[in-house]
Subunit: 734 residues, 2 copies
């Protein structure tokens, strides 16, 4: 609206587009953007290009390249994210193995590659070969003795500590924004908030490196959440090469929506699921155009990752699962029960996570992140090493659990887990915790408490595994496989339900699993389990882990899922309240530069309504504080003869003034002539709806043509917090 | 807004909710609903139930049942649509076979079932058995002679004519709305238009029966488009059993969105694709809640259909395809080329279809639908019978084309089509036409022209098939299979691209194909082909077949995909224009019943703004014509002492009046105190955005607090038509 005034000021329009007054139309850090204004700006830009393209061939070519730049950008994001994800997978795999030993043929081989290259590997024992030395073998020279095991254990713990220390130091020193899973912040950014540097190049570099370090150190965290952040960083950086996206916050957010689809696409190897994740979980404004582009980018990324083939199995993920056994209608009962457990566990997870984060925020615990990380890593590594299944990474464990048992299979699980129901139960819980953490997956600082829980379960597994080591091996192999298939199916369902309970995703989760398992066979029971899980978790607390974190951090996020159901009116929310002084307004003429500057200095509002006169209070328009400050400074510096008593005019035509008066400062071009208005009687449910759907920053309240007050996004959020019996002061930003 | 006034009139609110003044808050036929008002109504209802539930257990139970009624409704829709689709499949299969012969074991068996039951069927010749008699065998008694063939041909044509005649007569006599594919109308209804009876029970019954008849008569039309209409009819009928949905047009549209997902789910056996189809193609308002429910309903429907198992292959569709051969990067070139051809063909299809429909509308051709159908059926049947591949239904042909060739396969295609490229080319084209028609699939009247085109291709196939009958059979079987696989792959891609060009779907189409082929293998080339097809078709004409039909019928549909890019302002669009008489307004007090009634009689506007006084033109609210008429009639009939000179008051408090004056008619309760307003300077792009996102019917235009004009949805559509150089008078409804 600011830039699309009457045709008469179109020269100014072009000036503004070319940024001759630098800063006008931009935003400060930790502020909310105005979607309507951004979209208008983009339409103006597009119109200008289209008009020019009718006159010259160069402009026509430019117009065509502009039209396709969106698709090109998507291609680049897909390629870059896919390549990065592949690199992360390979590096994490290698470094995880490095904790146990090294390859003599070249230290850059991981365990599996090292033994592939060897001639002495047998089919039965694929993972044993002379080229691969554990650290103890390398240092002491003898294998499989008591002291050797202790030495291996020591090396394992040392490497883990080293990786964790490096990760936490890098994050602290170079990119504090690289901590955490990043999804709550990305959700907030997509809804129109500005956090400078959150998606910058330093965050990208450090996040990529520390992600590898953190996963390799054996901490119970997955790469799936952070990969969304990495993809969004890629997108943000690539946006800088395209004027269309660099200059426009709304357009850039469309690209970021697509990037979050790309992140999930490479994390789970599920392009369709990624698009639905972006649509269901993180995006705020998701037009059809973005849907198509997201899908394209997600496909390119998945294709790139597959070309890199980091797992050597032609699959996009390590834990590709195939269920082909049909299910019986009665089986729905255990599936729904698992859904209930998953929902309960998910709600508990969120509650505990938030409690721990709050503790860290409010006590001295938060002052020692490095020590916290090291202690947790030490404990994890010490306890994880003795048992084979906790020593391996979570993805490997899942892959181990789901691989079909053949007669020649080297996995010991094929013989083992079938013996007792309780065993598979606790194995499940551990891995579920691992994967539950995976998407919710906070990065370094924020997720420490998960580790504590994971430890409990890793201890449980210890007991369980020791328990079965003494049982027999080869009786009723067939029957056992059957039990194992059942157990892994139930494990899988519990895992999905937990994820559902933690993130409250439903459709996207089912589609991700559909792509992972590659068949419609289990889609009905999966849906039943995830829906149950969501209902149960929703009944306990309405917020998903992301929303809980957004609220914890006080970001101004207007949730689109929850309907506002209270019976308040605009008049109850608008400022000023009845006891407050009247609204600070500007008049369209008759104010001097000094008066305007004093008003700016006395208040902290981010914008001022402009009225015809203080008496009539008839609304003319709205002007943003930032634009006003910049324009006045600019006028004082560059316009001849502007002094403190110069008039400030928001009208187009000059009012009659005495010839001796100093020249007036004309600010008609920064005035938004079409501010959004509601009446005092408008129910808040409609106001909230307008704010959500149009992405407003503020809205003026009028009654019978007179301006009475203003409602900002922050006012609405505070009001909503109040109606939900929460502290309205928890909303921190505009 | 109307019903959510100040707390003081809450008794009236309850009255209105209980419909004591019948008709207030409802709409007339062929009018647009006000989404904001409908959603407000639903929130009020919900609030009331929640409040009551705190006081009694019965109310609490009612509140819980109300919360789950949405899910129950989805379950019912899924079950009903799935069962209907299964029934249609079985009936169409039987009646298609009935044209050729009858089963002696029982006339209700189709060819396949008849021979399954027989002991004399050999594995080599599964479709030959003595129990199945062609009509000629039954009547003349000898098989395979010249005259027999003529008799069979005659019977085939007669049955086809009978089916087509029955179909067209049923539609004409009982449910004219059952004609056509129905998707354009459903799209319009979902955007907030009212067409009474379009989704009624007669339409459902007749559409189901005639769908079977039309498909069986051998016309080149598929059941996929109409199945969406059938599912929506089911949803609409089931809505009547739930107060929540019966009374609220907005809530009902949410259910219909889900139902269209169900329709595609059962048509293609693709639940996820169905949900995306609803999201991408038909829905207007698609909140996340609807996404979850659509998904649930689509799954239930697919599950029901699978339980019925109409094709006896445990698949949801007859033409389940499996591609597992990997593709080479260079293959992208032919795939993209096929995409280009598909896009061209799709654009041509739309153009020809619309031209034919316009011809029928404007000339005498439209007066003889029965004769038109019969002529086309006659031609189709006459020409289709001689060749095996045109005699079978399109789905069977596709299934035949894609089944893997085994050594024992009875399909002659395994030996044949491999010989010449041209053959498979024309086979492709025919079937592509069949499937292209499938989704675009107009029903009886509107799709006649397709048949003409189909005929041309059926003739081409005749030539082609005669051409290969003479070639050898058994040489290089392996090599041929290879060629056939290539050909069917290319055919498949052409088919998809055509569908993409006709409907302009991309993501949903790819996902549907993903679910049909059951693998991610071909998702990248599919995406490349459909995107190319969409771009090519968009370059030729912007509209999909559905939008073209909506425009042809003059429905008031505000397209959400296309951005409004012109630089006009609200002042250019609003009524009254500068030369017109001033806006007809009501004043909040000071008008008599007679004056109001005269204003109503003199104008045709569907609503009137209410201002403080004619001089100030300060806006108070907006009142709908229908509500005003009903309230005045009600007052004249039931309120004591109301005469023509009685005052009409829109204020809450009584103005001082002489005691002798007749009692005033108070209409404060029907006044919308929070009408949407924009300023004269608001760019039309923002106005269009507001209308789209909030679903408005009208919006008032003010300048500096004074009411200047009004913009309705029809005004916007007319303006858009004008800007696109089309006839603004083509928009017919409000």
């Amino acid at each position: 609206p600011v830039l699309t005034g009457l045709p008469s000021n179109s020269p100014k329009l072009i000036d503004l587009l070319d940024d001759t007054v630098p800063g006008i139309g931009t935003y400060e850090d930790f502020n909310t953007i105005d979607w309507v204004r951004e979209k208008s700006k983009d339409r103006d830009r597009h119109r200008e290009i289209t008009n020019k393209s009718k006159h010259s061939t160069v402009a026509l070519l430019f117009s065509i390249s502009d039209a396709f730049s969106g698709w090109l950008l998507m291609l680049l994001i897909g390629l870059m994210s896919g390549a990065l994800a592949g690199g992360i997978d390979i590096a994490a795999h290698w470094m995880t193995d490095l904790k146990e030993g090294v390859c003599l043929n070249g230290f850059w081989f991981n365990h599996e590659h090292c033994c592939w290259a060897s001639n002495e590997t047998t089919f039965q024992e694929r993972d044993k070969c002379p080229q691969w030395k554990t650290w103890a073998e390398l240092m002491v020279g003898v294998s499989e003795q008591g002291s050797v095991n202790v030495l291996n254990h020591f090396m394992y713990v040392s490497w883990a500590l080293l990786f964790a220390f490096l990760a936490v130091i890098l994050v602290r020193a170079f990119a504090p924004y690289a901590c955490g899973s990043g999804i709550p912040e990305i959700k907030t950014i997509l809804s129109g908030f500005i956090i400078r540097g959150y998606l910058g190049k330093w965050t990208l570099i450090i996040k990529t490196i520390t992600l590898v370090l953190a996963v390799s150190s054996g901490l119970s965290l997955g790469k799936e959440g952070p990969l969304v952040h990495v993809a969004c960083c890629c997108a943000n950086i690539l946006c800088h090469f395209f004027t269309k996206y660099r200059r426009n916050e709304a357009k850039r957010r469309e690209v970021l929506s697509a990037a979050s689809a790309v992140g999930v696409s490479v994390a789970f190897g599920a392009p369709i699921g990624g698009v639905l994740f972006s649509l269901e979980e993180v995006s705020y404004y998701f037009p059809l155009k973005t849907l198509w582009r997201s899908f394209f980018a997600a496909l390119v990324a998945a294709f790139t990752l597959r070309s890199i083939n980091p797992f050597g199995n032609s699959r996009l993920v390590l834990f590709y699962v195939e269920f082909h056994t049909p299910w019986h209608l009665l089986e729905l009962i255990p599936f729904v029960l698992l859904g209930i457990f998953g929902g309960l566990w998910g709600a508990f997870f969120i509650h505990a996570n938030i409690a721990w984060c709050r503790l860290r925020k409010n006590t001295r615990l938060g002052h020692y992140p490095v020590i916290e990380v090291l202690v947790v890593t030490l404990l994890t590594a010490l306890l994880a090493f003795p048992i084979e299944y906790t020593r391996m990474s979570s993805s490997e464990l899942i892959s181990e659990l789901f691989n079909d048992c053949g007669l020649l299979d080297s996995s010991k699980l094929c013989g083992y887990t079938s013996n007792s129901g309780s065993t598979s139960g606790s194995v499940n819980a551990t891995a579920a915790n691992g994967l539950g953490a995976r998407l919710a997956g906070p990065g370094l600082y924020t997720a420490m408490w998960q580790l504590a829980l994971a430890l409990v379960f890793k201890m449980l597994i210890t007991v369980a595994t020791f328990g079965i080591k003494v049982t027999d091996l080869d009786v009723f192999l067939k029957a056992k496989q059957n039990i194992r298939a059942q157990a892994s199916k139930h494990f899988f369902f519990f895992l999905i339900s937990t994820l559902g309970g933690v993130t409250r995703m439903t459709v996207s989760l089912v589609v991700i699993m559909f792509e992972l398992t590659g068949g419609l066979e289990y889609i009905v029971p999966l849906m039943a389990a995830t829906m149950t899980s969501k209902w149960v978790a929703d009944a306990l607390s309405r917020e998903s882990i992301y929303e809980a974190h957004i609220r914890l951090n006080g970001y101004p996020f207007l949730e689109a899922k929850e309907e506002f159901r209270h019976k308040t009116l605009a008049t109850d929310v608008m400022r000023p309240r009845q006891s407050d002084p009247p609204l600070s307004v500007l008049t369209q003429s008759g104010m001097s530069v000094e008066e305007v500057e004093r008003l700016i200095a006395d208040t902290t509002y981010s914008g001022f309504p402009v009225v015809i006169s203080q008496q009539s209070q008839r609304l003319v328009g709205f002007v943003l504080r930032r634009d006003l400050v910049i324009s006045l400074e600019n006028a004082r510096r560059h316009q001849e003869g502007v002094v403190s008593v110069s008039a400030v005019l928001f009208t187009e035509c000059d009012p009659p003034a005495s010839p001796s008066a100093p020249p007036a400062v004309k600010l008609h071009n920064i005035l938004d002539l079409s501010p959004f208005t509601v009446t005092v009687h408008t129910p808040m449910e409609i106001v909230v709806d307008i704010f959500r759907k149009l992405g407003l920053r503020q809205c003026l309240v009028i009654q019978n043509g007179r301006l009475l007050g203003i409602i900002t996004k922050k006012d609405i959020l505070k009001h909503m917090a109040q109606m939900a019996n929460r502290d309205p002061e928890s909303i921190l930003f505009n």
